[in-house]
């Protein structure tokens, strides 16, 4: 058992004011897929960056095949055969796919050091084919979908002939079908002799792939188990440090009269002929593949995008929404998909972030009122249970789940009727996830209408009263909670005609 | 809250600083700390300031040299200043600085005839003598102007020169500095007046181009002139950058003898083209003398020998006696006629300025 491909002993990393890793251990066996789990902020990302040489540990030792090593920079890691696929895809949008794959280890002619474009394009094409992707490697990276970019990242890892591959939440942005494709690729990599560290929040990822699982909590090492040795509940306890009684705490809400009605909404190239209604106390799920136009429809209702055809009716009255401010005044709120880019001012204090949408209302005719602001910020951050010492902590210092809670708190500031939540639990740890679900359920009980965009099937089935499925810009089916099944939804999301889709739709 | 506090503290700091200033000042007699030459008089030396248009201009450096020589001959202290850009705004700031230094006299070559008026008035109100040199400021903002040469003479002489070069008939053009340069515009006016004379009926002024005293622009303007007017026979460039740039273009294009060039230029810049014959001859005054005369005039103003009225006379060292004469609604002191540089004398001048 001494022969681990990679072993880390007693790793500690301290940043000013924070201990990001505290005496952490890890052992990776040859040819295994090893899941690394933990809540956001448990130290997983820092841990990876130590393996890939982005950070240096303050204490502790690294062993590769039993030899003590030091990884001073990412280049060292690359030379040692370690590659990482990061959570937020780290691509170069202006460069071609080929370049993205080969950046840092381009093929060059010996002697002249000229880049061999032709060879690289061919090699890239080969790698992509191997991964079942059929786009042209000369395409600009920025023109690809997130899932395709993920595949390029994997191709990049393959191209370095990496022996150790780290995947940091690769499935977070993927749909079920795309995840399946990823599972297949990951297993293929393992079969070819690579050892893989797989980080994910999704239990299904772990069960599907991993042989062993290691859990971190609060920067500390909790333990390592074989996947079959540990129950789901025990794993949650290990990660969260407490028991979570109910993953989808859907409470029964009284469904009232119609709140929002969308009729024949269309925008060339994005979505067509979108009609649905939302009633008081109802949670409407909007699902489908990433890129099916769900986000665009909701952003059009919220006034971020404009729509070219159709109409939106609020409480029976036709409304024109040309700007988010109008939407908010009418009582429509939107929780954006990307909390870091669209939801938060990261450099700002929690309090300021929360009150930003209603700053005008809290002011005395335009003059800031610090007292009212802190009061509201305090109340709301307690209500959504943000883990922070004060409302003056910077949002950038919070973990992903807590950041998401702050964004939810922002939504609660305004006097809303309709709330649109776009992937509210994406990349959020188990604890925060259930907290967000609870808030959502409470809101419905209070008579709000909630639209939830989600790609995660259990979440959709567990939380929604009704489910609308979109495919390529159109609504293809609507299900009542009682009649919805995973298979039916998948069928509506993919339909016939796409050979790949059929294959992926289990 | 912090911001307000910071603001208040900053204000307090300022106030206390100013309050400190109000405290009795050190006696003004021991303010002179550095002495460079032996003093002729027991009390502090009188201070004479000269502000040129901009720094890094050899023409201006020579003027300042001349001014300094004169003032040192007379036993005063010369302060030479020039802003980094030729703007009136910068000169106003320098005038304020000189007023604060309690100089006795400010001489300057104005970057704008009118814009310096309020600042110079303020200086005169503070008892400082003000005169302009070379590039005049308006009559209200000066006591007297030292004129390097009569603009009428400059304008007429240049037309006469170019007409002689081209043999009495043909198309000519003017390549000036910026479109708002006062000196150049006055000269061009006089050129046009000279051309009205019937004896120039065969000479046609086709265009006034502006090279903005920039090398690259002057070059492309010259090239445009040559192309737009293929029959062009002569160019007058009454500006040092313009004439050198035109000389370069004519040399490169091998147009020596086909297109004649004259104007106002620095001998050092133009030596190459005068020696080669591209520019048979040109004119300029001696900038050192302009500065020197300005120095003597400044000293005479401070000593009270002249007041800037027409008819005042004073001795200007090696330049002999000079008289104040009328100039529009102001007065001026004339240096003399422009000096002609040709292949014979350029050799001895090219290393001087």
């Amino acid at each position: 058992m001494a022969d681990f491909v990679l072993e880390l002993k007693g790793i500690t990393k301290v940043f000013p004011g924070v201990k990001a890793l505290d005496n952490v251990h890890f052992q990776l066996e040859q040819g295994e897929i090893h899941a690394l789990m933990g809540e956001n902020g448990a130290g997983k990302s820092t841990f990876i960056k130590i393996i890939t040489g982005v950070y240096q540990p303050d204490e502790g030792e690294l062993y590769l095949n039993g030899h003590r090593i030091e990884i001073r920079n990412p280049k060292d890691a690359q030379k040692l055969g370690i590659a990482a696929i990061y959570q937020h895809v780290t691509c170069y949008p202006d460069l071609s796919v080929t370049e993205n794959i080969f950046i840092g280890h381009e093929k060059v002619q010996k002697g002249t050091n000229r880049i061999l474009w032709k060879e690289m394009h061919e090699e890239a094409k080969k790698l992509l084919d191997q991964l079942g992707a059929n786009f042209d490697p000369k395409v600009q990276m920025g023109a690809l979908s997130v899932a395709q970019q993920q595949i390029v990242e994997i191709a990049k890892a393959l191209s370095t002939n990496a022996k150790i591959i780290i995947m940091d939440e690769p499935t977070a942005a993927l749909t079920k079908r795309e995840s399946e494709e990823l599972y297949r690729i990951t297993e293929q990599l393992r079969d070819n002799g690579a050892s893989i560290i797989f980080i994910s929040h999704r239990f299904e990822d772990m069960y599907r792939l991993a042989g062993r699982v290691t859990v971190f909590r609060d920067s500390k090492y909790i333990g390592t188990w074989g996947v079959n040795e540990i129950s789901n509940d025990d794993l949650i306890v290990a990660m969260v440090g407490r028991e979570i009684t109910q993953l989808f705490p859907k409470k029964k809400a009284d469904i009232g009269e119609e709140l929002l009605r969308v009729e024949g909404l269309g925008k060339t190239g994005y979505f067509e002929d979108i009609s649905f209604t939302l009633r008081k106390g109802e949670i409407l799920g909007l699902t489908g593949l990433v890129g099916a136009g769900r986000t665009e429809v909701c952003q059009a209702i919220f006034g971020i995008l404009d729509y070219e055809r159709g109409s939106v009716h609020l409480e029976g009255r036709k409304v024109e929404i040309d700007h988010p401010q109008t939407a908010m005044k009418l009582g429509i709120g939107y929780l954006p998909e990307d909390r870091q880019k669209q939801g938060l001012v990261l450099n700002w204090e929690i309090g300021r972030n929360i009150t930003l949408p209603v700053i005008e209302k809290l002011s005395n005719n335009g003059w800031l009122n610090d007292g009212k602001e802190s009061e509201m910020a305090k109340n709301l951050s307690e209500k959504v249970q943000v883990k922070a010492n004060s409302i003056f902590d910077h949002a950038s210092l919070l973990s992903g789940g807590n950041q998401q809670k702050v964004v939810v708190a922002k939504l609660l500031t305004a006097d809303l009727k309709v709330m649109i939540l776009d992937e509210p639990t994406k990349g959020v740890d188990v604890g925060a996830k259930s907290a967000i679900h609870e808030i959502m359920s409470d809101l419905a009980c209070q008579g709000y209408g909630v639209i939830m965009i989600s790609s995660e099937m259990p979440e959709v089935l567990g939380m929604c009263d009704r489910i609308a499925v979109m495919r390529e810009g159109r609504i293809t089916a609507t299900f009542e909670r009682s009649t919805a099944t995973q298979e039916a939804i998948l069928e509506a999301a993919m339909m016939r005609g796409h050979a790949e889709a059929e294959r992926a739709a289990i | 809250m912090k911001k307000v506090l910071a603001l208040i503290l900053a204000v307090i700091m300022m106030v206390s600083l100013l309050a400190g200033c109000a405290a009795p000042q050190p006696a003004s007699t021991n303010t002179e700390t550095q002495t460079t030459t032996t003093e002729q008089k027991p009390e502090a030396k009188k201070k004479f300031a000269f502000i040129f248009k901009n720094t890094g201009n050899p023409y201006g450096e020579k003027q300042m040299d001349g001014f300094k020589t004169a003032i040192e001959e007379l036993g005063g202290e010369a302060i030479l200043k020039a802003p980094d850009q030729p703007t009136a705004e910068a000169q106003i700031q320098m005038i304020e600085e000189l007023i604060a230094q309690k100089v006795d006299c400010i001489a300057l070559t104005g970057n704008d005839p009118d814009a310096l008026q309020p600042a110079l008035k303020k200086a005169m109100d503070a008892g400082i003598k003000v005169l302009s040199a070379d590039s005049a400021v308006n009559a209200q903002s000066r006591m007297v102007h030292v004129n390097q040469a009569d603009p009428e003479r400059i304008g007429r002489v240049e037309v006469q020169a170019v007409v002689e070069m081209i043999g009495g008939s043909g198309e000519i053009a003017v390549l000036s500095a910026t479109s708002q340069a006062t000196n150049q515009n006055t000269w061009i006016e006089w050129m046009k007046k000279e051309l009205e004379d019937p004896k120039y009926k065969d000479v046609k002024l086709v265009k006034v181009a502006y090279g903005d005293d920039l090398r690259d622009k002057s070059v492309s303007e010259t090239e445009a002139l040559l192309k737009s007017y293929p029959n062009l026979k002569g160019i007058i460039a009454p500006t040092t950058v313009g004439i050198a740039a035109a000389g370069k273009v004519l040399t490169d294009k091998g147009l020596k003898g086909k297109v004649q060039l004259t104007g106002l230029g620095l001998p050092s810049e133009m030596a190459e083209y005068i020696e080669s014959g591209v520019c048979p001859w040109m004119y300029l005054w001696n900038p050192i003398d302009v500065g020197y005369l300005t120095g003597y005039a400044a000293f005479a103003l401070v000593e009270g020998k002249i007041t800037g009225k027409v008819g005042d006379k004073f001795n200007a060292g090696k330049l002999g006696d000079k008289e104040v004469i009328a100039d529009g609604d102001g007065t001026q002191i004339m240096l003399g006629d422009p000096f002609k540089f040709d292949a014979k004398n350029i050799g001895e001048w090219k290393s001087v300025y």
Binding site: P16, Q325, G351, L368, E382 | Q25, T87, A115
Partner: protein, 333 residues
């Protein structure tokens, strides 16, 4: 898990209060004043110091709105041309017989319009950055000034107009008083109103601001319009100080103004900085120039000193606080 109480009261932290860029500037300001006092016996004269402010405060009016522009992570390099155009239009309309008071209003309108146009173009063509838009309008505005006035100067304003640039109220220069009033107004606007808060939000993250219901386009246009307006105010005072105007006035002001703003600790990447910093840096640069001018330091040396000051002033806090910032960056990643 117990519900934790979240603190909502800010504690006054003496260390962090003094650990601010503005104090560094104040310190620098004091040092410069002390050095100047030693260098020149003429420096420490309150009346002359007040007079000195008159020479650099004209461009200071643009510094105030430029702080907003740079907090928005934009830039406006057309300000000097706006000054020239509004000054020229004012002078020309006065000389065409328009009463001076009306000519002043026209001047302010022209400046405001120039700024509004910048803002509109920037908002309507988001593909073009503010640098490109204002680079083109910089050339266009001054070009129009040339078309209007050609090679002429225009002036001969009524005598009372001179008061703006040269007058005193109770021994204090009028321009200083007006500047102080504007400084307070802009300071309150930036730090005490919802408008200012939104400007900061946009500078930090414009997408999140939009999603939070802020009318980002409207605010951007307002900020650029304000910049145009204040450029026209500069035009008023500059023209008064010069007594006449030309199409080439105020050339190079844009770089001076930006230098002052950045020295004041307003980050060119947006979202950070305070108005006080910019105001201190106006006086810092102004008095530094004045002091060195009194010593008759050559213009070229002045250029070098100010250039180095600018670089070092921005460099020093970067070096000093590096590890602190570094920590934050790492934690978020």
């Amino acid at each position: 898990m117990k519900e934790k109480n979240i603190i909502a009261k800010k504690e006054f932290n003496l260390k962090s209060f003094f650990f601010q860029w503005e104090w560094m500037l104040v310190l620098l300001f004091v040092v410069i004043n002390i050095i100047n006092t030693f260098l020149s016996p003429y420096y420490l004269d309150p009346k002359k110091l007040l007079d000195a402010t008159m020479t650099f405060l004209d461009k200071a009016f643009i510094v105030l709105p430029m702080v907003f522009v740079i907090i928005l992570a934009d830039i406006d390099i057309s300000v000097a041309s706006t000054v020239a155009l509004s000054a020229v239009v004012m002078a020309v309309s006065y000389n065409l017989g328009v009463p001076m008071a009306l000519a002043i209003i026209i001047c302010l309108l022209v400046g405001t319009l120039c700024g509004f146009l910048n803002g509109l173009l920037i908002v309507k063509f988001k593909e073009l950055s503010a640098v490109i838009v204002t680079l083109s309008t910089m050339i266009i505005y001054r070009g129009i000034a040339y078309i209007i006035l050609e090679d002429q100067a225009s002036g001969k304003f009524p005598a009372w107009y001179k008061f703006l640039g040269w007058g005193y109220v109770g021994g204090i220069p009028f321009i200083l008083i007006v500047f102080a009033v504007f400084a307070v107004v802009f300071g309150l606007l930036l730090h005490k109103t919802t408008f200012g808060r939104r400007v900061y939000a946009m500078g930090n993250n414009i997408t999140a601001s939009r999603f939070s219901g802020i009318q980002v386009d409207k605010i951007k246009v307002i900020v650029f319009t304000l910049t145009g307006f204040m450029s026209a105010v500069t035009a008023l005072f500059l023209t008064s100080r010069m007594g006449s105007t030309r199409p080439n006035v105020a050339s190079g002001y844009e770089l001076d103004v930006i230098a002052m703003v950045v020295l004041g600790g307003i980050s060119s990447t947006g979202g950070k900085g305070k108005l006080t910093g910019a105001i201190i840096s106006i006086f810092l640069i102004g008095f530094l120039r004045y002091g060195l001018g009194l010593k008759n330091v050559p213009a070229q040396a002045l250029l070098i000193i100010i250039g180095l000051l600018l670089i070092f002033a921005v460099m020093i806090p970067n070096l000093k606080f590096n590890f602190k910032k570094w920590g934050k960056v790492q934690k978020t990643s």
